[in-house]
Symmetry: C2
Subunit: 220 residues, 2 copies
DNA sequence: GTCTATAAGGAGATAGAC
DNA sequence: GTCTATCTCCTTATAGAC
């Protein structure tokens, strides 16, 4: 049975992953240095190599820790809705909720970690490095395919490119909102608050669903 | 009269800016190294310091070269539509066109530079470094304010937060689509092609305008 | 598992010759 | 304006003691 320290700090691997997440958020994957990371995590430099093998290994572990569970939540939520619908098409509002709510919940975490988690999303989205991308493209494709299937079922008259573009646009709006934590709040003088998950979710669903429903009428 | 070499390569400053743009696209602001940049630009390391003073100075120059003109195009296009409307509210489709077309045009540049330019947009969007952000926040605020005014004029019943969120969502969808050049094309097996500016513009306008128009009816 | 010590090279920046 | 040479510090990574 692994140790569970009664109080204070998490174990070394977790501290390293947390620190790495912060460093990536601040400086990107290439700019994040192991020395900054081990200082913040209060571990020795060699500890990183013992647990993660290399810098790339650590980066991959950082991504897997967050995005593995996220993928599962996406598929689980969509599956729950589909099971309840018993083969009938889902309303686009439900499909959007299954797309948006898991990442919004992830972003509503404890304030100390919130900025690191959300900015990590932004760093990934814009990272062309193949070694980093490879960790995520597989599961991204799986999640996108699931949502695309649901949308095609609900909007049979819509063309495939129209749906593909719209899925990209929704991901983009979400990623952009998430990866600028604090900035949107400041620039809108508090009118927009990303931590109010329910409000943001409602706003996004109200904004996007008419654009999807328009595809039900004409061939899009 | 400054030299204009008859053929071949642009001048040193331009070569450095181009190379820096590529390096930022690949590795981010922190990860881009001057040594990689000068090698690609085929200039001596000291040349960077002669023309740009420091790494930060070079980064700022890279941003200003692209985003100064972009801001002007945004305001010019919106102003043109508003002049033609003579005080009457603009259709949301026109406001969206003025938001979307200038960046889409920028992204449709010569193939060699296209990826660097579009990924630069992504890198900026996700960069929390204050020194980098400071270069852009001012003009971003000006452009956003202009579009917000136009939207409030066209949709007087809409609440301010509803409009602010929607503007963020549109920017996000655009930035996300732009900063993944090539990836969307591949993942959709060619169904989505970012270089077809007119198609992408039409797709985005069709997707977003119903969500704005919905605000004309109810208080959003 | 955790540490010290160190290798081997890359980083930004500058002085000074031409 | 352009270049060489160099300073100083930081980088990833590893060998080996405990």
């Amino acid at each position: 049975m692994p140790k569970m320290p009664k109080s204070s700090e998490p174990d070394r691997q977790t501290r390293i992953l947390d620190a790495a997440e912060s460093a990536i958020a601040e400086s990107g994957f290439a700019g994040a240095s192991l020395r900054d990371i081990v200082q913040e995590a209060q571990v020795n430099l060699a500890t990183v190599y013992y647990y993660f093998g290399s810098k790339v290994g650590l980066m991959e572990a950082v991504l897997k820790r967050r995005f593995g569970p996220l993928r599962q939540e996406h598929l689980a939520m969509l599956g729950k809705f589909e099971a309840a619908a018993r083969g009938r098409p889902l309303p686009v509002e439900q499909i959007l909720e299954a797309m948006l709510l898991p990442p919004l919940r992830l972003a509503a975490k404890a304030p100390a970690k919130r900025q690191a988690v959300t900015r990590l999303i932004g760093r990934i989205v814009t990272e062309p490095n193949p070694q980093i991308q490879k960790v995520l493209t597989g599961q991204r494709a799986e999640v996108r395919a699931a949502f695309l299937r649901a949308l095609q079922h609900s909007l049979p008259k819509a063309s495939l490119p129209a749906l593909l573009w719209r899925v990209e646009f929704v991901w983009g709006a979400l990623a952009f909102a998430l990866c600028n934590p604090g900035k949107i709040e400041i620039e809108t003088h508090g009118a927009c608050d990303l931590t109010k998950t329910d409000e943001v979710l409602a706003e996004m669903i109200h904004f996007f669903s008419p654009g999807f429903r328009a595809l039900a009428r004409n061939a899009g």
